[in-house]
């Protein structure tokens, strides 16, 4: 006796195929939803902002007059902020990753630390802002300057760098380490000459992604206290500053008062998106260039 009756199977085949088509349509819609929203968003931003972008907009100081307002201050603020965030996250993040992957004994303590680094990545950014306000701006009495904001932002994106670097270091084949140890190299010589050169592409990708997150973050700096209207251009890491996303935030709020502020915000969004697009492209280029070398 056969268990599968082919006439019965044939009868039910129609419903099965319909269920399949239904599932496929559902998943396609899910994909399209995100895509459509993104396209609408970019279209609106470009429509509102593009006419306002010109050389004056990029190089002027901030002003209450929409016709004269520019974002040079926010661009320089972002630049100085990155100058703090990049070295701090790289030193702390890569250092932590090297310690955890190469030096720390694999045990309860190291897995506890690793778990909490992943947890740290899930802490809301506004909480980091409060930490920055209490520790860097007030307790260390830095005030709301680039250094305080940069240290806060560095802590915020640190987990991204740590996790990406750990993965890159772990992906270096063990046989390369063995070859180096086998010749009497110390751990540090092996890390410096074998592990890091092989892991650098992955680490760099992580660093760039972390920086592009830092460039777009708003909440922690708003909490630290960035002035809504800052005319002077920051000149170093001890100056008060504003950055592109915070500028977007204030202009959007104030667009209730002056309608053109909404266009200024849109124009700034275009610039910010452009910066992020370039950074992510560099990250992807690095990743593709160094993929599959073993």
């Amino acid at each position: 006796m056969k268990y599968i009756d082919s006439t019965q199977v044939h009868k039910k085949m129609g419903t099965r195929l319909i269920a399949n088509t239904l599932a496929k349509t559902l998943f396609l819609l899910a994909t399209l939803f995100g895509l459509v929203v993104l396209i609408v968003l970019i279209y609106r931003v470009l429509k509102d902002g593009l006419p306002w972008i010109n050389m004056d907009f990029l190089t002027n100081r901030l002003s209450t007059d929409p016709g004269r307002a520019g974002i040079w201050g926010a661009i320089m603020g972002t630049f100085w902020l990155m100058l703090v965030v990049a070295p701090v996250t790289m030193i702390l993040g890569i250092g932590t990753a090297i310690y955890l992957e190469e030096y720390a004994k694999k045990g309860r303590v190291s897995s506890f630390i690793k778990t909490n680094i992943s947890n740290l990545a899930g802490v809301p950014s506004v909480v980091f802002g409060i930490l920055g306000l209490t520790v860097f701006a007030r307790a260390l009495d830095l005030g709301s300057v680039v250094l305080a904001g940069g240290l806060t932002m560095a802590l915020l994106v640190l987990p991204v760098v740590v996790v990406a670097s750990q993965e890159a270091i772990r992906a270096v084949p063990q046989f390369l380490r063995e070859a180096s140890y086998g010749m009497g190299a110390t751990k540090w010589q092996t890390i410096k000459n074998v592990v890091l050169p092989a892991a650098i592409p992955g680490i760099l990708t992580g660093v760039i992604l972390a920086l592009s997150r830092a460039i777009g973050e708003t909440a922690p700096l708003v909490v630290i206290g960035i002035p809504a209207l800052l005319i002077p251009i920051p000149d170093g890491i001890f100056d008060k500053f504003t950055i592109l996303p915070v500028q977007i935030y204030y202009w959007t709020i104030d667009s209730a008062l002056v309608a053109e502020y909404a266009n200024l915000a849109a124009a700034t969004i275009v610039i910010l998106l452009l910066v992020l697009f370039v950074m992510n492209s560099i990250a992807i280029l690095i990743r593709n260039k160094f993929q599959k070398r073993y």
Partner: protein, 275 residues
Amino acid sequence: MTVMTDKKHTTENLSMKAGNQENAKKVVYDTKDLNLWYGEGHALKNINLAINENEVTAIIGPSGCGKSTYIKTLNRMVELVPSVKISGEILYRGRNILEKGYQVEDLRTSVGMVFQKPNPFPKSIYENIAYGPKIHGIRDKKILDEIVEKSLRGAAIWDEVKDRLNQNAYGLSGGQQQRICIARALAIEPDVILMDEPTSALDPISTLKVEELVQELKKDFSIIIVTHNMQQAARISDKTAFFLNGEVIEFAETDKIFSNPSDKRTEDYITGRFG
């Protein structure tokens, strides 16, 4: 040419030979009651082996018998496995390498290793060979050039690669890569060379080249080679140790092991009844 100065044993060795002509072979590695556990698994059981210098000692046995573990214990590479526990003694040139405070980097400078899979660095051929001397502090380009040439000649691959020393070692064939790895081990001017199934990933012609090379090298080095291939052990080694389930079943002259083994299990293994 001797570039590194750590060669105390050479003089000891000469005086020994002068004083004791008929027993000229000196023990380089003396293993006493070695036990090793991976977590709960007892991988090596009461190993006692005395390995002579300037000989090729082959270690044979079926998969999982502990032969690779043993050779990796000789340069303490086995410690890279997190849960490993070791007891007993391994005397290298009279000093216990398992005692507290023994500098493992020192040991590995005198004991080179060639691995199962060719594992050159993703660097140029030149940089691969110069790696060892460089980490031991040699910076002079002229000396490095000499070491690179000498090591590549020593590994019988100089003629094949002399015109492309700056090319990536990954561009070479598997057999050439393995000889690059042997040259890289020679470049630290070791006393002993450990080989962990060095030909298992190679084709027959490359295997033959490596075997000839081993014969050549034993004049200057003591060689301990783990092999899966019994014909290889018979062809190239002076002494053979047969491992089974973490124990040394028999250790004797290779001729004797293969013609007249004293243990039934050795005979069963070499005649292909198991393993």
